[in-house]
């Protein structure tokens, strides 16, 4: 019996040792941080880094659907740069991103300032404003396509019957019109994201600052420009970064609304890369086309993050 008890004591003490080791390990901040970060890093590696590296590899090969292909160096990139449809798609993407972001920022800010006031049914208005953002893009793009339909457009019908036009407006059948229509739909869809995020930012600004400025004789514009805007700038920059990334790599809206037409005048990098990579099975060339987005987005993020950091230090 005595030997048994001695064995039990030994057993307990071994467990205690293990527990204390674990405790010690967890108490070490470095080890704990690594353990907590591990799942996140694993997900990033699996779902972001691995596909990215694969895309990079594909872009350097002549891989096409069902065939492994060979290493071709930068041939796919050279072909893309000489491809006039790609050049147009690149210009379109820059145009689309710039104007959609400008409109989303201006209108989103305006909406956020309005929603920051007190009025009746404020909560309902705030919630309903999110609708364009909540509806799946494919569905809303289809609805817009119907509204812009060359023959049955409700807008043409309305304007015609109101006596404002005599001929149908070429919403999607003229290249320039179609691009502006795409910018409009993107603005409509993305504006609530700006508004709600800026609204959250606005609510962190103490009313005391406004009151103090008002007592000093500042009018509404001065209060916005000298109080609200500087305090809202960090939030604004973050929202703009997100928006630029999403708009620059937009696919669904154009794919549904115009398919890149008419005469390729609304093709974006993403829709064209899809057409080449998936539609024509040229996976290597498609990967190279889509990778052209990377340096541009990287530069945008880098510049804006540096700006934010400088503001933090200041």
């Amino acid at each position: 019996m005595g030997g048994g008890r001695a064995g039990q004591d030994l057993h307990l003490s071994a467990e205690q040792v293990r527990v204390s080791r674990l405790t010690r390990l967890l108490e070490s901040e470095k080890a704990l941080a690594a353990a907590l970060l591990a799942p996140g890093v694993a997900i990033l590696v699996l779902f972001i880094a691995y596909p990215f590296v694969m895309a990079l590899w594909y872009s350097l090969t002549s891989i096409r659907v069902g065939e492994a292909g060979e290493f071709v160096g930068v041939a796919n990139f050279t072909k893309a740069m000489n491809d006039s449809i790609f050049q147009q798609a690149f210009r379109n993407t820059v145009f689309y991103t710039f104007w959609a972001t400008v409109f989303k920022l201006a209108l989103g800010m305006w909406l956020a300032l309005l929603l920051n006031r007190h009025f009746r049914l404020k909560r309902i208005v705030r919630a309903s404003m999110l609708l364009p953002f909540i509806i799946p893009t494919v569905l809303s793009a289809f609805a817009w396509r119907w509204m812009f339909d060359p023959t049955f457009s409700v807008m043409n019908w309305g304007l015609y019957h109101a006596g404002m036009i005599t001929d149908r407006l070429p919403f999607l059948s003229s290249g320039d019109w179609a691009m502006w229509c795409a910018v409009l739909v993107n603005t409509w869809r993305g504006m609530p994201f700006f508004a709600i995020t800026l609204l959250a930012g606005l609510q962190t600004i103490s009313p005391d600052l406004h009151e103090a400025a008002a007592l000093d004789g500042a009018n509404a514009w001065h209060r916005f420009w000298h109080v609200t805007w500087p305090l809202l700038l960090p939030v604004t920059l973050v929202v703009v970064v997100f928006s630029v990334i999403q708009t620059f790599s937009d696919f669904q809206l154009i794919y549904v609304l115009t398919g890149g037409g008419p005469a390729n005048s609304t093709h974006l990098i993403a829709t064209y890369a899809y057409q080449i990579g998936v539609g024509s099975g040229l996976l290597g060339e498609g990967a190279a086309l889509s990778l052209f987005m990377f340096p541009v987005l990287f530069a945008v993020v880098w510049v804006q993050l540096r700006f934010l950091k400088r503001m933090d230090n200041a």
Partner: protein, 429 residues
Amino acid sequence: MKRRDLLKAGLAGILVARQAPVFAQANTVHILRWNDFVPAADKVLREVFAPEVQKALGIKLNVETINANDLPARATAAIQSGSGPDIILLLNNYPHLYASAGVDVSALAEEVSKAQGGIYAPAVRLNKVGGKWVSMPWSLVPALIAYRKSWFEEVGAKSFPKTWQEYQTVGKKLKAAKRPIGQTLGNTFGDAPTFTYPLLWSFGGQEVDAKGKVVLNSKATIESVKFMVQFWKDACDEGGLAWDDSNNNRSFLSGDISATLNGASIYVAALNGADKFKTEKGAPLHTDILHAPLPAGANGSHNYHTAHNHMVMKYSKNQKGAIEFLRWAHKKENLEKWLVVQKGYAVGTARSWEKHPMWNESGPVMAPFKVAAAGQSRLMGHGGEPNQKAAEAWNKFIVTVMYAQACSGKSTPEEAVKWAAGELGKIYT
């Protein structure tokens, strides 16, 4: 056996076999097709073919249908991941793009061709790659012009115009009467290229020569673009630049256009919805519809009919079952059930189907569809082969965009042709 032992044994089995367990896969055939423009045909697959093939061969048929424009994406994803449907519907010359992923179905194709009077030559060229059938031609969707008989007569056209010039003259009068011709020049898979390629050919233009050298930038091509610009302005609904494959169906059925190049789906819809679709005089719309081939240019009249082909995928675990299903489906007594409900929208790919009694019932309106497939001589990539390069040019809509650029005023006919020839040159290097 304990639960844990069972799990261990199962896991060991999976690891040894290097594949996921097969649940009731024994004889299931998964076929991926488009959402048919004639919905009754999909119903035949699900409600007639599925139970009958189960009874005849013990095959459980799983029919999945998606938007035609999304088929290439699904095929690419399935081939790259090595799993997906056992059979995939591939349009036009896609069998050339996916040739390495298809099972050799030469025995079946030769068998069907022999039994049914010979498969049409264009269908052979689209499905045979390197002397081997990589897919099985299933049907053709002829593209012909559907037009309003009474409206054409009202502007003095007793029969359908035989040449492009005549068509333009008639179309000008129709457009003046707010009844324009409808034609898409958008980036869409069917009605756009099936119009622009034959237009190019009928003026004598072509993408490449027999050796694959790009010869698009020619006097004939420029003439065809110049004609199209004037035709567009004089006779067409200019909204067509933004149309997809379904806009002309809606515009025709609602009485907004007088003629359009299409499959027979407009007529079939008007026939099935006789109470809904009426002429301005109250008669059923289908009684005022006739069909005609595209007019002729200096180089004759040409047409392109959309080919529908089935590829048995190499990654399939049930290749044998998939081929057996196709062999069963291509038997005259089975295929006719599907073709009859098509009412001529889709036609068989072998000559004997021209003699089927269904054509006696459909009368003169559908008569042009009966012989359409036999009259087709050219394919994309003419005068070379309908190969991967031709498919790339087709998918980039280069020929269609050439016309669209000039019609939208974005460039002159000469500039548009030069641009298109340059783009083709980058593909055919």
